[in-house]
């Protein structure tokens, strides 16, 4: 029985050889392929070639990442995360400021000076002159107006 290729005509096996090699051809086509192989040197040689290639690739050893590679990647990831978190906090703070939330209104402080003087004088001992008693609070303080 000859092998019917994708064109439907009797043909060389082509990629069906890899299918045969990998057990991916399906029972019916496998039998036909084996029958074709028995009488076709070209396909038999091609089968050997692809089988050899497959053997080489399968025999390739596992490859380790350079020492510390994953640790470095994870570290960088964590740093990025922290930075992203800080940026998020910064953005939130900026938004709050722009909206005027949490930023106290500034109003000028204007203490009632006469009342302060009066209170101080009221606590003073009898006989002391008013000016002396005022001295401790006569520090250079400027009050906003």
């Amino acid at each position: 029985m000859s092998f019917a290729g994708p064109s439907g005509l009797s043909d060389h096996l082509g990629d069906a050889l890899s299918g045969l090699l990998d057990g991916e051809l399906g029972t019916g086509r496998e039998e036909a392929a084996m029958a074709h192989l028995a009488g076709c040197t070209r396909c038999a040689e091609e089968l050997l070639a692809v089988r050899q290639a497959r053997t080489w690739v399968r025999a390739l050893p596992p490859v380790d990442a350079p020492f510390g590679f994953y640790e470095r990647v994870l570290l960088e990831r964590n740093q990025l995360r922290r930075r992203a978190a800080l940026v998020a906090v910064g953005a939130a703070a900026a938004a709050v400021t722009v909206l005027g939330v949490g930023s106290p209104r500034q109003s000028p402080v204007s203490p009632a000076v006469p009342r302060l003087v009066e209170a101080h004088a009221g606590g003073a001992s009898v006989g002391a002159d008013l000016l002396t008693k005022l001295a401790p609070i006569a520090v250079p303080v400027s009050f906003g107006r």
């Binding site: 994708p6 082509g14 990629d15 069906a16 050889l17 890899s18 299918g19 990998d22 991916e24 091609e46 050997l48 070639a49 692809v50 050899q52 290639a53 497959r54 053997t55 080489w56 690739v57 399968r58 025999a59 390739l60 050893p61 596992p62 490859v63 380790d64 990442a65 350079p66 590679f69 994953y70 990647v73 994870l74 990831r77």
Partner: protein
């Protein structure tokens, strides 16, 4: 696993780091590109860009890795500056004797070089089948191509690889 079932970076690195790196290295053929590829895969894992199917973590990782690799090679192709062939004027050294026994002892570095000389689509099929060990159906699902295309790419890739090492 995280609540969504998607593994964390730490789990991937700890339990599958060697597997992931091996696939990336076999696809790219050098450590610099393999490291870039693995980093991109880990980003995709974190972003949850790919749907994880529980039970086939390494299959899932190899799918992300291969698709990321193919995306990157297509992106580079679109940039004129990267149109240079990967291995210009490369001449494979003839194998002395060239009998089956000698040829059967191909060095891993030579096999890797031959693998790298394959077109990315062929290389991906060969790596997914012969390094990862996936079925044609799985490879077709991963690469969004019919099984016949998988078989064709795989076969042509193997044939070219054998020629390169002849």
């Amino acid at each position: 696993m995280a609540g969504s079932g998607v593994p964390t970076w730490e789990e991937v690195a700890r339990d599958h780091g060697r597997f992931l790196y091996t696939v990336a290295y076999r696809l790219t053929g050098n450590h610099d590109d393999a490291q870039d590829l693995v980093q991109e895969v880990l980003l995709r894992v974190r972003r949850g860009l790919e749907t994880y199917r529980p039970g086939s973590l390494e299959g899932w990782l190899s799918r992300i890795t291969t698709n990321t690799f193919l995306d990157e090679t297509r992106r580079r192709k679109r940039r004129p500056v990267d149109l240079l062939p990967e291995e210009p004027d490369r001449v494979m050294p003839p194998s002395p004797g060239a009998d089956e026994a000698m040829a059967a002892e191909a060095l891993p570095d030579d096999v890797q070089d031959a693998l790298r000389s394959l077109p990315p689509e062929y290389r991906s099929a060969v790596v997914l089948c012969d390094v990862v060990g996936l079925s044609y159906q799985e490879i077709g699902d991963f690469l969004h191509v019919p099984v016949g295309t998988v078989r064709s790419r795989l076969h042509r890739g193997r044939a070219l690889l054998r020629e390169a090492l002849a």
